[in-house]
Every structure is written in structure tokens, then in C-alpha cells.
């Protein structure tokens, strides 16, 4: 029975339909592997598992690692071999079982993990919003006013977020419910990103297939997309962020655009517009598409490649896409008002003119057309320029926004908008990051772009434009590495596949076969009639050269898979709120201070106790502790953040009124000095100072936090301003008591602290977590006797001393 089916399969292996089926199977395998590789973090411990059923998934990580390693390897081999043939692929599928490879995968998996410096926090907000959506329905979600964030102000959440992610998971949730599959919304949120990464691999396959006739290029692109660390970083299980679905939408929109452009079809154009609308609903990075498509169109026009197809595709996309993007309340009128969107509008108008001119050219003779063209072009250019000047000066078109300027001038944000520059993802990319995130793709990428120049069609121009555009922006901001990754995968796949197609060609023409080849060529050249246009038979036929190159390529691909496995398991799989470290004896030690502290807040404070912390922790407090916060990661109000910054960086006497005015009950700081956790508040302190200084330049001065020699110190040499700031005091309060006298040491900043620690009068310590990472202080109420806090605290201290003195002294009777 099975032998029969195998025979049937083998005989049909040359048929076109079977190949399609085979390709589909392999593609789904790749998608499956892409999903599996993102489940490392679930296998361990999931960021969203505050409660959690998902912890029960944590069974035997090594076995799981083996499994997903196997999956990935098999998919990798499979893609390699579609290029060859069905027979070989079957042989190699069995090869995959070779234990050494999978074991090394598992070993890499088991290696120690780095401490994540940059905890992802947006998922917490998204998760909270999704819960709200599922609980209250779509319309309530749309009108959601959240009074538990930005404490006195509140936030019109429904109108200030990109709802695509939440609506997607809400829709999946309801669809599964309708199919009577009871599933928790949390599980959907955790697994959404890996699921969409499978779709991204598929979209990359489609996009690459538009570029090249080679059947293996698409599969290679799918593989690369599936395991490239640059994309895995944002799509591991539990990273429930906008980028999770946005990258799929980005790639798929590009695919639809290319399809629309190639066919000149309105239907594909409108599909492109719809997915563009979905993208706008999901991620602020949609501006990337808004700028890239007009740029592509513009480059095509400049190259003299204007065609009616371009007109149909672009105008359909723009007219419908803009309208679709305006449906999102957060975007609103931006597409017609801000300068980021103006290039798209300009190209739209330009194409109308071109189409008209094109029509006129077909109608009248060329000499007359020249006359017409000059008049027409001059007139419209003048009119357009005048309109632009008038509109900009009259304020109809807003000037470029700050985030946009920071793309052009990397120094701009640091000077003008500290709040943007303070986000670590907005920093310029370091060189090693490119290699870390893309590995060998980074050197295949230019080759792929070069191959695009070889036969330059409209779609290849797109890859070239995208490559330039994406590389520039990836160099400007770390987070934009994400938008570069797709084009790197596509270009690398094109070059890798052309290499493999050249060197893995099994058929080597013998001397006898040569005349036959010449004959077929002769037919073609007979048609054109030009001998020189017929291609000579060129190829590599020596087994040695074939074997060397194919072997080297295989080794590179294997190394790539290893690198991806290593990066994924080491850098991107550690749940961000749970830190892991290693004990001296090699055993793993879990540092769970964040959850400990949030749990404490949840259980020991009033339901509406306001927590003041730096904005980085706002979403986590809102999501895990369920307490109102003053500021959070949605940094829409710079002044409010600066207020918190001022409270943190001023003296207690200044901070206390601020905290009273904002009804703060607790203050939360993150302190890594005991553990050596470098992402703590003292290291972020300068940003607080800078942001506060932006609003109150007279009261907060960054210079005063540096020593006269320009050093940022926390030890005995620290400036008075530094020592008196609330943040410093809260971080080091009572820290001395952990050490022998005079031995207190900060392990992050490698400095010895002064013998006498800071004293606090307006707030009191409420909670300190196990490793001192989180410290929570309670803001004291006004003094009962109407004293100010400093004197009350001094009195308390004085009283204690007196009592102690009394005990020591001889007891005396009062004689009166």
C-alpha cells in the first residue's frame, strides 16, 4: 500500500501539480517551524503568565528544544531540496534525524541566558486593552476612557491607540468561541505573535516569487524570514506587541502592491489598500509604506517606466488606502494634514497629470505635443508650488513632526525631545547589531540587490528602493531593523537561490547532448534572426567545483540555523519580567522581584492607590498590579512625565507638594545596585533630569548632578543635589544596613557608598523585594501636629536617641 503511494508520488514528482502540492507542504512546514522557534519563551515561562496555566507548559525544555530544532532543520533541508528534486528530498528528510545536529541545537538552548536589560512592557498594556475589548465589546472599547492611567488626567484610550492588534485577537477569540472551542484570551494573546510569524514566512514566499522565476528563492525567503533573529526578537510567544502582526501586514501589503503593479489590476490595488488600512490600524510604522510606495512610483517615473499599470495600481491604492487609514480615530485627518503623507499625495497628483499627458500624446503628433507639454508642465508646476507655499504658510499643512526629524538628523532628538531619545529602541543601531540580527543574510543581501539590477523590471526596482530606504532607517533607529529584515530576507534568498540553482544543476550536458542544446537555441535565435543574441551554453559542470560551492553554502546555511537558534534561546527567549541568573555551582537562579513587588501592590494597597514611578513601569503596574499610575509607556504628555521627573530629581521638600497634589500614595523605584542589574532607575536618572529640565530649566539643572569634574557619581563624591534628590535617597535608603559599616557597595556602578546613608522624612519604606530590585515607599500623610515632615522626622529620631540615652543613664526619681 505504502509502496504503491510512494511509487505514485515518485512518478508524479515531475508533474507540475505535484510540485505545487509539495511546495505547499514544505511552505507549511516552514511556517510551522517559524512558529515553533518562537515558543522557546513559552516553554520556559511566559511573560504573560502572571497567574498562570501556561507555566504548566514548562515540561522538559530540552526535549522541546530538540523538537523545534528538528522542525526547523527539517524545514531548512526541505527548502534546499525542492530546488533539486523530490527523490533527494525524501532521502534527506531521513537525514534530519541525525542526532548530533539536533543535540547541538538543544545544547545551545540549554546554555545560560543573558539578563534582559530592556524589559518589554507594551504587551502588558495591549493585554489589558484586549481584556477590556473582550469583556465590554467593540463599541465600548472604541469609546474607552481610562481613568486608571495618567492619574489626574486619564487617557482617551480608544482614540489614542492602534486597535488592530486587539481587534485581531478579539476576533480570533470570538471565532473560536463560535466554533465551541473554549479558549482563554490570554492564550490567544501569547500565541498570536508566533502564529502571525508563520503567515509572515508565507508572505515573504509570495513576495519573493514575484521577483524571480526560481522556485527555490521563495522557499528560501520563507525560511530566512522564519528564523531571522531580527524578526524573532519581536515575535516570540508572549511579545504581544503591535509589531507582531504589523510585519506580516507590511510584507503582505508589499506583495499585493507588486502584484497590482504587475497586473495593473484594480482588484489587487484595492486589496493592497485594504491591507494597508489594516496596517494603519495596527502600527505607527505604517508611514514606512506611505513613504515607500510613492518613492517606488517616483523612481519608476524618473526612469521613464511610467505605464498605465502604474497609474491604475497607484491611484487605486492611494485613493482607497488613504480613506481607509482615516477611519482609525488615532490617525484621523493626519493623512491630509501632515507632511509625512504629502509625498504620497504629490505622486498621486503627478500621476494624474502624467496620465493626461499620456493620453494627449497618443492623440496628437509629437511636435505639437512638445508645445503642449511645456505649457502644461510649467503651468501646473507653478500652480502646485504656489499652493504648497500658501497652504504651509497658512497652516493647513502641519510642519514635520519631531519624531520624523529625528530620522534625518540623529542628533536632533537628543537636543530637542529628550522623551524620544530616552527610549532605548530609538537609539542608532550599533554595527554588531546587524550581524547579530541577520548573520549571513547581511552579506548575501547586497548580492541579491545586485542580482535585481541584472534584469531590472518594475518589481526589482522596488527591491532596490526598499533596500536603500530600509538600510538607512535601520541605521538610524534600532527598532527599524524590523522593517529592514523582510527585504534582507528576500534579497538574500534571491542570491542564495541563484547560487544554488547554478551549482546544484544535476544535468550536465555531455558532448553528445550539446548539439541538441544548440538546436533548441537555434530555434530561438532563428526567431529573432540575430546570432549574437542567442546565449551560449554557460554553466558549471565540474563535480569538484559544484561540490565545493554547494558544500560551503550548506555549511553557511547550517551555521545560520545554529546562530538563529543560539540567539533566540539566549537573547530573545527570556521572559522579560523574570530574570534568570546562574549560581556559582551552575544551577539556575530565577529572580522574580518584579512579580513579587506587583503582587505585593495588588494585595496590600487600596484598589485606587496611586503609584508614582518612572514611565517605563507604568504599563506593568497597570497590567500586573492593577493600580492607577501617574505616567506610563504611552508617552503622550511630556509635561506630566516631566512633573514626575521633577519630583524624582528634586529635594524632598520640593517633591512632597508635587506628590500631594497628584494624590500619590506610593512611589516605586527600581534599584539594581545589590544585584548588578544595570537597567535600574539610577542609570535612567539623567533622562528624568533632562526631561524635567526641558520644562523647568530654572529648578532642575542637569549640570548639578555631575561632579565638578563632569562625572556622574553616586558615592561619597556625589554632588549635594544628587545626594538630596528623592531618587537617590529612595534607592540607597537603608542600603548600608546590608553591609558591614563602611563596606556598602553599588554593584552596577562599582562604587563604594558613603558611610552614612540618606534619611527620608516625607516618605517611608513600605516594601523592598527579595533582591532589592523594586523598592516601594509610602507617601506620609500630613503631620498630625502640623509640623513639617523634616522636623517631625528629626523629632522622631531625636526621641529615639533620647530614649536610648535614658536607658543607659541611671534612673532618677523626680523630686518635686
Amino acid at each position: 500500500m505504502s509502496a504503491d503511494t510512494l511509487q505514485v508520488l515518485a512518478s508524479a514528482g515531475k508533474g507540475e501539480s505535484t510540485r505545487t502540492i509539495l511546495r505547499f507542504i514544505i511552505l507549511s512546514l516552514i511556517a510551522g517551524a517559524a512558529i515553533a522557534s518562537r515558543l522557546f519563551s513559552v516553554i520556559r515561562k511566559c511573560p504573560l503568565s502572571a497567574g498562570s496555566q501556561l507555566l504548566s507548559w514548562q515540561s522538559r525544555p530540552s526535549r522541546r528544544g530538540q523538537l523545534s530544532g528538528l522542525l526547523r532543520l527539517s524545514a531548512f533541508w526541505a527548502a534546499l531540496l525542492t530546488a533539486a528534486s523530490f527523490q533527494v528530498s525524501r532521502a534527506l528528510f531521513t537525514n534530519v534525524g541525525s542526532p548530533s545536529l539536533s543535540q547541538s541545537c538543544a545544547r545551545a538552548e540549554r546554555q545560560s541566558r543573558m539578563v534582559a536589560d530592556n524589559p518589554l512592557v507594551d504587551p502588558w498594556f495591549n493585554f489589558r486593552a484586549t481584556k477590556y475589548l473582550v469583556a465590554n465589546g467593540f463599541y465600548k472599547f472604541w469609546d474607552w476612557f481610562d481613568d486608571r492611567t495618567w492619574h489626574p488626567l486619564g487617557r482617551v484610550t480608544g482614540g489614542t491607540l492602534y486597535p488592530g492588534l486587539m481587534v485581531t485577537s478579539g476576533a480570533i477569540y470570538h471565532a473560536l468561541r463560535a466554533l465551541t472551542i473554549p479558549v482563554d484570551i490570554r492564550n490567544i494573546c501569547v500565541l498570536l505573535a508566533p502564529a502571525f510569524s508563520g503567515l509572515t514566512a508565507f508572505a515573504a514566499y509570495l513576495l519573493t516569487n514575484e521577483m524571480t522565476p526560481s522556485p527555490s528563492a521563495g522557499l528560501l525567503a520563507a525560511i530566512f524570514m522564519g528564523i531571522a533573529p531580527g524578526y524573532i526578537s519581536r515575535s516570540v510567544a508572549g511579545s504581544y506587541d503591535n509589531e507582531a502582526i504589523a510585519i506580516f501586514l507590511l510584507v503582505f501589503t508589499f506583495f499585493l502592491w507588486i502584484r497590482a503593479l504587475k497586473q495593473g489590476s484594480m482588484l489587487w490595488g484595492v486589496l493592497c489598500a485594504l491591507f494597508y488600512g489594516y496596517m494603519v490600524a495596527s502600527w505607527g510604522g505604517y508611514a514606512f509604506i506611505t513613504c515607500l510606495l510613492p518613492l517606488h512610483a517616483f523612481v519608476l517615473i524618473c526612469m521613464g517606466r511610467y505605464s498605465t499599470r502604474l497609474y491604475v495600481a497607484y491611484t487605486t491604492w492611494y485613493a482607497l488606502g488613504t480613506l481607509a487609514s482615516m477611519q482609525i480615530p488615532f490617525v484621523g485627518f493626519l493623512p491630509v494634514k501632515t507632511s509625512e503623507h504629502m509625498p504620497a499625495l504629490g505622486i498621486f497628483g503627478f500621476l494624474q497629470l502624467l496620465a493626461f499627458l499620456d493620453y494627449v500624446r497618443s492623440a496628437i503628433p509629437s511636435r505639437q505635443f512638445q508645445t503642449f507639454l511645456w505649457l502644461f508642465a510649467g503651468g501646473t508646476f507653478g500652480l502646485g508650488l504656489a499652493a504648497l507655499v500658501v497652504a504651509t504658510s497658512a497652516g493647513f499643512i502641519a510642519p514635520w513632526s519631531g519624531r520624523f526629524y529625528s530620522l534625518w538628523d540623529t542628533g536632533y532628538a537628543k537636543i530637542h525631545i529628550p522623551i524620544i531619545a530616552s527610549v532605548s529602541e530609538h537609539q542608532p543601531t550599533a554595527w554588531p547589531a546587524f550581524f547579530f540580527d541577520l548573520n549571513m543574510l547581511i552579506w548575501l543581501f547586497p548580492a541579491g540587490v545586485y542580482l535585481c539590477f541584472q534584469n531590472l523590471a518594475d518589481e526589482h526596482v522596488f527591491i532596490v528602493v526598499y533596500a536603500l530606504f530600509g538600510s538607512y532607517f535601520a541605521g538610524v533607529m534600532v527598532r527599524l531593523m524590523l522593517t529592514l529584515t523582510p527585504v534582507v530576507c528576500v534579497a538574500a534568498a534571491i542570491s542564495a537561490s541563484s547560487l544554488l540553482d547554478t551549482y546544484l544543476n544535476v544535468k550536465s550536458p555531455n558532448a553528445e547532448e550539446h548539439p541538441a542544446d544548440d538546436n533548441t537555441d537555434g530555434k530561438k535565435s532563428g526567431k529573432t534572426g540575430l546570432k549574437s543574441t542567442s546565449k551560449p551554453v554557460v554553466g558549471i559542470y565540474g563535480w569538484l567545483s559544484k561540490g565545493t560551492v554547494a558544500g560551503a553554502m550548506t555549511v553557511y546555511l547550517l551555521l545560520f540555523v545554529m546562530h538563529c537558534t543560539w540567539v533566540t534561546s539566549n537573547a530573545y527567549s527570556s521572559p522579560s519580567v523574570v530574570l534568570a541568573s546562574r549560581m556559582p555551582d551552575g544551577s539556575q537562579h530565577i529572580i522574580d522581584d518584579y512579580r513579587e513587588a506587583y503582587q505585593w501592590l495588588r494585595q496590600n494597597t487600596k484598589e485606587d492607590a496611586k503609584i508614582m514611578s518612572w514611565w517605563d513601569y507604568g504599563y506593568q503596574i497597570g497590567g500586573m498590579a492593577d493600580r492607577p499610575t501617574l505616567v506610563d509607556n504611552n508617552t503622550w504628555n511630556n509635561t506630566h512625565i516631566a512633573t514626575v521627573g521633577k519630583a524624582m530629581s528634586s529635594r524632598e521638600e520640593v517633591s512632597y507638594p508635587i506628590m500631594r497634589q497628584h494624590e500619590v500614595d506610593y512611589v516605586l523605584v527600581v534599584f539594581g545596585g545589590l544585584l548588578g542589574y544595570s537597567g535600574d532607575d539610577i542609570n535612567k536618572f539623567l533622562w528624568m533630569v533632562r526631561i524635567a529640565e526641558g520644562i523647568w530649566p530654572d529648578e532642575v539643572k542637569e549640570r548639578e548632578f555631575f561632579t565638578p569634574r563632569g562625572e556622574y557619581r553616586v558615592d561619597g563624591e556625589a554632588t549635594e543635589t544628587m545626594k538630596n534628590s528623592l531618587m537617590y535617597k529612595m534607592s540607597y535608603y537603608n542600603y548600608n544596613s546590608l553591609f558591614p559599616p563602611g563596606q556598602a557597595q553599588d554593584r552596577v556602578r562599582q562604587s563604594r557608598l558613603p558611610e552614612v546613608g540618606p534619611s527620608l522624612s516625607t516618605i517611608e519604606e513600605a516594601f523592598t523585594s527579595e533582591n532589592w530590585i523594586i523598592r516601594i515607599y509610602k507617601v506620609k500623610d500630613l503631620d498630625n501636629f502640623g509640623r513639617d515632615h523634616a522636623s517631625a522626622a528629626a523629632f522622631d529620631r531625636g526621641l529615639k536617641k533620647k530614649k536610648a540615652a535614658k536607658k543607659r543613664g541611671p534612673r532618677q526619681l523626680r523630686v518635686d
Binding site: L267, T308, V312, L320, A355, L375
Partner: protein
Amino acid sequence: MAKSRNVTPSPAAAATAAAAPPQQPSTPAPAPAPVKQVAKSAPSSKQNWDQVVVNLVNHYQNKTPQRTKLIDAFMAFLVVVGALQFVYCVLAGNYPFNAFLSGFSATVGQFVLTASLRIQTTEANKSDFPSVSPERAFADYVVCSLILHFFCVNFIN
């Protein structure tokens, strides 16, 4: 504007005479003939401009199928409606900006879609669209229009 009109046509004016004869059979209308005879004289620039327009109009009237003319009438109507809305917006203020935007983009979008339909159904462009038959073009047109108007109605408030 006036200056450019004086400057640019001068090389073209001389060329018109050469270019016109092949034009003649394609536009059998009698109108251009007298114009061409005076084309060489110095003050002919204006007439030359006229001639371009006249050629254009003739070509349009004689070479365009009836159905395409119908499409063109619709496009002209859309342009008029769009211009009216724009003038209203400029004169009377854009207060319900949603309403203005959706109305205006409905006309613009419909214009663009109709133009695409016209391009795709024109015989001369057939080689550009190997996969789009006129029937397919019309079906696409209907689908796109439906989506466009859905968005407009949703946005109009």
C-alpha cells in the same frame, strides 16, 4: 505664463508645418487646414496653440467609442462635483471636516477608478493588461466602488 507662451512655441511653430501632413489623414475635419497655412507667419503662436487643441478635440470626437464617451461624461461630472465641493469648502469653511473629506474623496476616488476602467477598456492599452479583460475590469470597478463608498459612508459621520 504669457511669457512662456511666447518663448516656447517658436521652435515648435516652425516644426508644425512638417508635422502636420501626417496628421492630416487621421483627422479629416476641415478645420485645421486653414490654420496650417498661416502657421509659418510670425504671429502664429496663438493659432498654433489653437491647433493643438483643435487636433485634440477632433481626435477625441472621431476616434473615441461611444461607451468611452459615456465614461468620460461621468468623469467630467465627477470633476465638476469635486470642484464644487472644494469651492464650497474654501468659501464657506470646512466645518464638518469629516463630511467634506469623505465627500471629496468619494469624487476623487470614483474619478480615479473610472479613469482606471477607461484605461483598461481602451483598445490601444490592451497590451499593457494581458490579464485584465474588459469584463474583469468592470467587475473590479464595481467591487472597488462598493468598498470606496463603504468607507465614505463610514467616515461621513
